[in-house]
C-alpha cells in the first residue's frame, strides 16, 4: 500500500478505535493490528493505545495486539508477559483478563503453556485470570480443573466458575464443580447456583445516557476520577464546538481534575490534531518548575503533526518561544526580536490569518509581538538600556500573569524568566565593570 494511503488509513483508524460503538472500534482494532504487523507507523499507533492513560483504550489496544500474535509471536508474548508481571504492582482485573485472552493469539501450545504456569503464581489475582482463561483451550491434563477448584483463594475459584460457564460439560468439569461445591463461602455458592442453571442470570437493562452539555463538561473538570464514558462524551462535546470546548478546557486547567481530564482527553480524542494539541498542553501542565527543555519538548510533540493547519498558529507560537528561549546574551535577544518582526510582517502580508486560530489563545501572539518590540528597541548595551529592558520585562511578566491564559502563559513565562536572568547578569557585570 502506498505511504500516503497508509497514513490516510491510520488517520481514520485513529478516530475509529476511539469511537464508543463496538461495531466501529472492534473492526478498527483488527485492522490496526493487521497493519501493525509490517508498518512501523501503525505499530506506533497501536503502542499509543496500549500505553493510553485510559484503561478502556488499553483494552482496545490488546484487541489489536491479538491480531499481531500469529505473525509476531515473540514480540506479542514478551509484551503480554510483561503486562502480567506488572499486574503484581498495578492490579486491574479487567485488563488482566484481556491480557490472558490475548494469549489465545499465540501459535501452537504457547498460550496454554503460559496459562498453566500462571496457575501456580503466588499472586491470586494472576491465578484467577489464568483460571478464567482455561475455557479458551479445550484440552487440559486430567485433574487440573479439580486442582484449581481447590485453590485456597476465593477469587481463583470464582475465576474458574467463569471459565466453566463457557466450557463443554465433561467428566473433568463435573469433578471441578463437585470440588467447588465443597467451598464454604456463600458468594461462591451463589455463583455455582447460576452455573448449574438453577437460577436465571440477571437481566441487563440498557439505560439511556443523560444529556451532556456545558454544565456537565465543567463538572467533569472538577472530578478527580473521570471514567471513559464521561471522557468520551466530553470529547464529542469539545469536537462539536471547538472554540467553546477549548475555551472551557483552558478555564478548567486549574480545577481539581483539569490536568487529568486533558491528559485523558488527549488519549481519547478521535482527531489526531486535537490529540496532538492536548498532548502538548498536557506536557506543559505536568512540567516540573524551571524545566527549560519544555519548549523543545512541546515543539517536538507538535512536529508529529507537521501538516496540520489547525495546529499551525500554536506551532508557530511555540517555535518562536523556543527560539527566544535559546538566546544566550542580549545581542541575541535583539537579533531574535528583529527577525521576529520581519518574519511576522512577511507572514501577515502573505496571509493575515495565518497566525490566528483557536489552537492558540489570541493574547499569546500579542505578548510575543510586545516582547519583539521591546527587544528591537534595545540598541546598545548601556546601563540605562539594560535597566529599562529589565523594567520592561518585569512589567510584561506582571501583565502576562494577569492577562494571558494557560498553557501559553507557561511557555511565555519560561522565555521571560530566561531573558530577565540574562539582562540581570549583564547588568551585574556592567555595574561590576564600572565600579572596577
Amino acid at each position: 500500500m502506498p505511504v500516503s494511503l497508509v497514513l490516510a488509513k491510520l488517520e481514520a483508524l485513529h478516530q475509529e478505535v476511539r469511537e464508543a460503538e463496538p461495531d466501529v472500534w472492534e473492526p478498527a482494532c483488527h485492522q490496526l493490528g493487521e497493519l501493525a504487523i509490517d508498518n512501523q507507523e501503525a505499530y506506533r499507533a497501536l503502542c499509543d493505545l496500549l500505553l493510553s492513560s485510559i484503561p478502556e483504550l488499553r483494552l482496545r489496544g490488546l484487541v489489536a495486539l491479538r491480531i499481531m500474535g500469529p505473525a509476531k509471536p515473540r514480540e506479542v508474548m514478551t509484551f503480554l508477559t510483561e503486562r502480567v508481571a506488572e499486574a503484581r504492582t498495578h492490579y486491574d482485573p479487567i485488563l488482566l483478563d484481556a491480557t490472558f485472552f490475548a494469549f489465545t493469539s499465540l501459535p501452537g501450545k504457547l498460550g496454554p503453556m503460559l496459562v498453566s504456569g500462571y496457575l501456580k503464581d503466588p499472586f491470586d489475582g494472576i491465578r484467577a485470570a489464568a483460571a478464567a482463561a482455561l475455557c479458551f483451550w479445550p484440552d487440559w491434563p486430567a485433574g487440573l480443573l479439580a486442582e484449581v477448584a481447590s485453590d485456597p483463594s476465593l477469587t481463583v475459584r470464582a475465576g474458574l466458575i467463569a471459565a466453566l460457564e463457557e466450557m463443554k460439560p465433561s467428566e473433568e468439569t463435573a469433578r471441578a464443580v463437585e470440588v467447588l461445591g465443597q467451598s464454604p463461602e456463600p458468594a461462591l455458592q451463589e455463583l455455582l447456583t447460576e452455573l448449574r442453571g438453577e437460577r436465571p442470570q440477571g437481566d441487563y437493562l440498557l439505560r439511556e445516557l443523560p444529556p451532556f452539555g456545558y454544565a456537565q463538561a465543567r463538572e467533569l473538570l472538577h472530578s478527580s476520577q473521570p471514567n471513559f464514558t464521561q471522557i468520551n462524551r466530553l470529547e464529542e462535546w469539545v469536537t462539536e464546538d471547538l472554540e467553546s470546548g477549548l475555551s472551557l478546557l483552558r478555564e478548567g486547567l486549574e480545577a481539581v481534575g483539569g490536568r487529568r481530564v486533558v491528559h485523558h482527553l488527549s488519549d481519547a480524542s478521535r482527531s489526531s490534531e486535537l490529540a496532538t494539541l492536548l498532548r502538548a498542553w498536557s506536557r506543559i501542565l505536568s512540567r516540573p518548575e524551571g524545566d527549560e527543555e519544555l519548549l523543545l519538548q512541546v515543539a517536538g510533540i507538535l512536529d508529529q503533526n507537521p501538516e496540520s493547519s489547525f495546529l499551525s498558529p500554536f506551532r508557530e507560537f511555540v517555535y518562536a518561544c523556543a527560539e527566544a528561549g535559546d538566546c544566550a546574551e542580549s545581542f541575541e535577544m535583539v537579533a531574535w526580536a528583529c527577525t521576529q518582526q520581519v518574519t511576522e510582517a512577511a507572514r501577515n502580508l502573505w496571509d493575515p490569518q495565518a497566525l490566528e486560530g483557536i489552537a492558540v489563545c489570541p493574547e499569546a501572539p500579542e505578548f510575543l509581538s510586545e516582547l519583539a518590540q521591546m527587544g528591537s528597541e534595545f540598541e546598545t548595551q548601556s546601563l540605562y538600556q539594560l535597566s529599562s529592558l529589565d523594567q520592561g520585562l518585569s512589567r510584561l511578566r506582571a501583565d502576562l500573569d494577569r492577562r494571558c491564559p494557560r498553557p501559553e502563559r507557561d511557555l511565555l513565562q519560561i522565555v521571560l524568566e530566561r531573558w530577565q536572568r540574562l539582562v540581570q547578569t549583564e547588568l551585574q557585570s556592567f555595574v561590576g565593570g564600572e565600579s572596577a
Binding site: A346, W350, P352
Partner: protein, 117 residues
C-alpha cells in the same frame, strides 16, 4: 481535519489565496472583477510592507545577523511585486502566459513562507 477557527470571517483578498484565484481565472471560474479586487488590495499592501521593511530601525548590534533575513525577505517581496506586474499585464492584454508565470512565482513564495522566511 479540524478547522482553524469556528467562526470564519468573510475571506479578504490575500497573497495566500491569490494563486488559487489566478487558477480560477484560467479555468473561467473567477471573473476579472474579482481579479481587479485582488490587485487593488494587494498592490498597496505590498508597497506599504516594503516601505516599512526599508524604514525598520535595526540596532547596530543586530545588523550583521539580520542582513541575510532582510535580503531573503526583500527577495520574496520582489517576487510578489513581479507576480502583481504580470497580473497587471494580463488585465491589459489578456496573455495567459502572464498568469501562468505569476502562479508559479506565487507557489515559490508560498513554499518559502511556509518553511519560514
Amino acid at each position: 481535519m479540524l478547522p482553524k477557527a469556528n467562526k470564519k470571517d468573510e475571506e479578504q483578498p490575500n497573497f495566500a489565496s491569490f494563486s488559487t484565484t489566478l487558477r480560477g481565472v484560467l479555468t473561467g471560474s473567477v471573473d476579472s472583477r474579482t481579479l481587479e479586487r485582488y490587485q487593488d488590495t494587494l498592490v498597496p499592501q505590498l508597497e506599504d510592507n516594503r516601505k516599512r521593511l526599508k524604514s525598520m530601525p535595526i540596532p547596530a548590534s543586530a545588523r550583521t545577523v539580520l542582513r541575510p533575513v532582510l535580503a531573503k525577505t526583500e527577495a520574496l517581496y520582489e517576487k510578489l511585486a513581479a507576480a502583481l506586474d504580470l497580473v497587471e499585464d494580463f488585465l491589459h492584454d489578456g496573455t495567459r502566459e502572464c498568469l501562468e508565470e505569476a502562479i508559479s512565482l506565487l507557489d515559490v513564495v508560498g513554499d518559502q513562507i511556509g518553511h519560514g522566511v
